[in-house]
Symmetry: C2
Subunit: 141 residues, 2 copies
């Protein structure tokens, strides 16, 4: 029950996630997070922190902020919404699922291609291509 009611300052979060304060305020303007205020100052709860984690991961895998907002909204509303809402949420979740699965294939393809390129280079190196250039002495030491 301890960490559940922890709070964070904006600085703590910027350091933890390596983002600027500007970014967090921007996400707030965009409605992605809604920290409370003590006077003017923002007070982030665990809920906000969890959302930030989702946002940043979503960003890393190529979602736009509006797509991320949509997902966050789904998490918010598919509990208390009616059936229509819930089914709509399910559909949206599956769409994201398929998008990510396609992306996973792309990544795996790129990975094998990169590995091939690297081993091609390694082959060339071990076959004495390096000997063409005296620099390999330097590189080997």
């Amino acid at each position: 029950m301890n960490h559940l009611n922890r709070t964070y300052t904006i600085r703590q979060l910027t350091k933890e996630f390596d983002v600027t304060a500007r970014t967090l305020r921007f996400y707030e303007d965009e409605g992605l997070i809604a920290p409370e205020r003590r006077g003017q100052t923002r007070i982030y709860a665990n809920r906000d922190r969890a959302r930030i984690i989702l946002i940043l991961r979503g960003r890393r895998v190529g979602f736009s902020l509006s797509e991320i907002r949509e997902i966050l909204d789904l998490y918010d509303t598919h509990h208390d919404g009616g059936v229509t809402q819930t089914l709509h949420a399910r559909k949206k979740f599956e769409e994201q699922l398929h998008k990510l699965e396609r992306q996973k294939v792309d990544i795996e393809d790129s990975l094998t291609e990169l590995k091939r390129a690297i081993s091609t280079i390694d082959d060339a190196i071990s076959k004495g291509q390096l000997a063409k250039n005296p620099l390999h002495q330097v590189a080997a030491e």
Copy 2:
């Protein structure tokens, strides 16, 4: 030996890859591709087409165009370059490799999270949450 010297018009490629002509010209301006010309008109060879495939896939997995250009340059130069070039290329390839591996983890995490969300919804539906709302009759039919 047949498809190796095939050529393509800009229209053919836009349709095949579902991009606009503007996009292909933009990539050319940025130095990512370099189709020949018959008069004014661009003539794309298989080399260009292969590069476009790489570009678009790179884009899908979240690379910026300048990162993509870097990779393309590596493919071009690590053959004919000196050892220093080749080793540099290897290093860069490995950087991309690690970036993609991190991204793959992110995607897998997102996937399991999405699957959990969906099965949570499915549980709620099968437990009769639907009965709360007469609309489920409609949805069931």
